[in-house]
Symmetry: C2
Subunit: 357 residues, 2 copies
């Protein structure tokens, strides 16, 4: 090792941009040991101000950046969180991911992204030994797979579904759905349909059943018996909404209102309604769920949730576990009814009387 060339100050070293400088280079320049460099640079105590200054200056001069693999190997910390999501281009997941990323970036953690549509990832779990925690925006419906996740040996966060031992953030899907359906009932609707999620993959979307529960609860409380013909499943996309709407519109006694599981699907529903020559909300009301960025453009009444905040909160929870050794935490976030123009009293009701807004 050729060290101690404190003569050529910023000459030879800086120009040879090939190999990045090591902690030893910094130590040599600052005339301390690598242990001290490590402490000084990480802001640990027990370093005299003067020494710290010298180290900082040396590090800066050499453009020193600690090798992440070396420090991970030595410390056992990866400063990385894995995130598993089924989609990235659906509003909800994109927003959640953005929230997670913001919190992690502030904490100077890296976010490793895994997209997994069909739950196959759970068999290999490529994030093994790579991350300090994993966030699942969806979980496999398979119990053994979930057990495998727990066996990762790192804090786990799950979105939308509470699992023993995992941190989680969710919304009250039951209450949200009830709120939506109560709004329709309050307008005078009795024949209310629901578009729910197709059980299309190995993944667990807890929201599916919970929102259906809220739907039924609201109807029950109003003394309305649910018509099975008015409950249809669709894929979580605009096309899924279109297909579901086509099905609903062909039911002999058409519904006067439709509660749709997501705004994206609701947009498909609106599209199909328009194509069928029907007018919304005059002839049929539609309410969605999410408050998607485009919902205002569609003038869509919906149940708003903040996906971004949910992601941010979930990231904070696992960060607490990693950094502070906290236990798993859970939180349920609020939803809010956003009344726009796709809901109105049913045609018959209007003929008779005024209704509440």
């Amino acid at each position: 090792m050729s060290s101690l060339n404190s003569s050529g100050h910023r000459g030879t070293r800086t120009t040879r941009s090939s190999a990045p400088s090591s902690i030893q280079d910094v130590a040599d320049l600052a005339r301390v040991s690598s242990a001290t460099v490590s402490r000084a640079l990480r802001g640990l105590p027990n370093v005299s101000p003067a020494t710290r200054q010298r180290v900082l200056a040396a590090a800066q001069e050499l453009h020193y950046i600690a090798s992440p693999s070396a420090s991970s190997l030595a410390s056992g910390r990866m400063s990385t969180v894995g995130v598993v999501t089924p989609y990235i281009s659906r509003w909800f997941f994109a927003e959640v991911l953005s929230g997670i990323e913001q919190v992690l970036q502030e904490a100077r953690f890296d976010l490793v992204l895994y997209i997994d549509v069909d739950g196959k990832l759970f068999q290999s779990l490529p994030m093994k030994r790579r991350v300090d925690a994993v966030l699942f925006l969806t979980l496999p419906s398979d119990t053994p797979d979930v057990a495998g996740v727990a066996a990762l040996g790192v804090p786990v966060g799950s979105l939308g579904v509470e699992i023993a031992g995992f941190s989680s953030v969710s919304i009250d899907d039951v209450a949200g759905a009830e709120m939506a359906v109560n709004h329709l009932i309050g307008l005078g609707h009795r024949r209310i349909a629901m578009v729910t999620l197709e059980n299309d993959s190995a993944l667990e979307f807890a929201t599916r059943s919970d929102r259906a529960t809220g739907f039924h609860a609201a109807l029950d409380r109003a003394g309305i018996s649910a018509d099975p013909a008015l409950i249809v499943k669709g894929y979580s996309s605009v096309e899924g909404g279109e297909a579901a709407a086509a099905q609903l519109l062909s039911v002999p006694e058409r519904p006067t209102a439709i509660f749709v599981q997501s705004d994206e699907m609701a947009m498909g529903v609106l599209h199909m309604i328009r194509r069928a020559g029907l007018r919304c909300p005059e002839e049929i009301s539609v309410i969605g769920f999410d408050d998607h960025e485009l919902s205002s453009v569609f003038d869509l009444t919906t149940v708003a949730q903040s996906a971004f905040q949910q992601g941010a909160q979930l990231a904070r929870f696992v960060l607490d576990q990693i950094l502070l050794g906290a236990g798993p935490q859970r939180k349920q976030m609020g939803t809010r009814l956003v009344i726009r123009g796709t809901t109105a009293p049913p045609a018959e009701a209007r003929a008779f009387a005024y209704s509440e807004t």
Copy 2:
């Protein structure tokens, strides 16, 4: 080190699920050296079939997964690619990211995600020494910042803009914009407006100027002089489109057609047109750019591009650089006119004659 306890075969070892097993554990169980384990598990040559089998079996029994930090430190390879994007919930970026992720996942590379709206990330470049390559879905407009990126010392890929030394994938924005405007001209439009991107950040959206170039080229060729009042800027969002449309609709001599830089902005434009009580395409035509998932719902005529394929291709390019030592490659992908219902001949033209579709 207590090794050689080959007696309790699957007893003691497997049950203590605390510390993950190391390469040495596997070596002990298979009665070979750790060097051989390393070779056998990575599929390297010079390992006898019998030995390889024994190692594989031992590794499986111990649920062995190599420590990424240790192997990175020893080999110098991170098996990770960094991706920097300004947004994640915009259609284009979400699609590109999906394409990148798919290719990386197949190659068993990790994707580290960095969201950077305002280009600040380029001052710290947190992916230093963490990744084998970086993909920029956008670049800072600052030349020194770009130089800093090049100094990362790893292959770099850039999307939408060609930079010396970087791999890149883009579309021919000029040609795409010309195609859009030619479509409008062919329909008989002469007063054609353009909604372009606000120069709202430190980031370089090359598409901005290129599409404007195509717009002007098409007008020039048709002998139409562009009216500066018909070229407005807006933020890259639905709201941005609304604001831009509001401005355009207040121009004394209204345009008969609008070419909008992105479908998302076009949706805002359509919304504003509707709110202004105008009919599209009867009174004003609109053409977008992207072929967003929702464009068919809006019946929006647009210039289609495959963002997913662009992302996948860019990932393959840098993978070639990392794995095969290839040089930077570049490719321009195609665009395609998708004619839907938001474009039609201008009102005056219809009064006189038939026009082409």
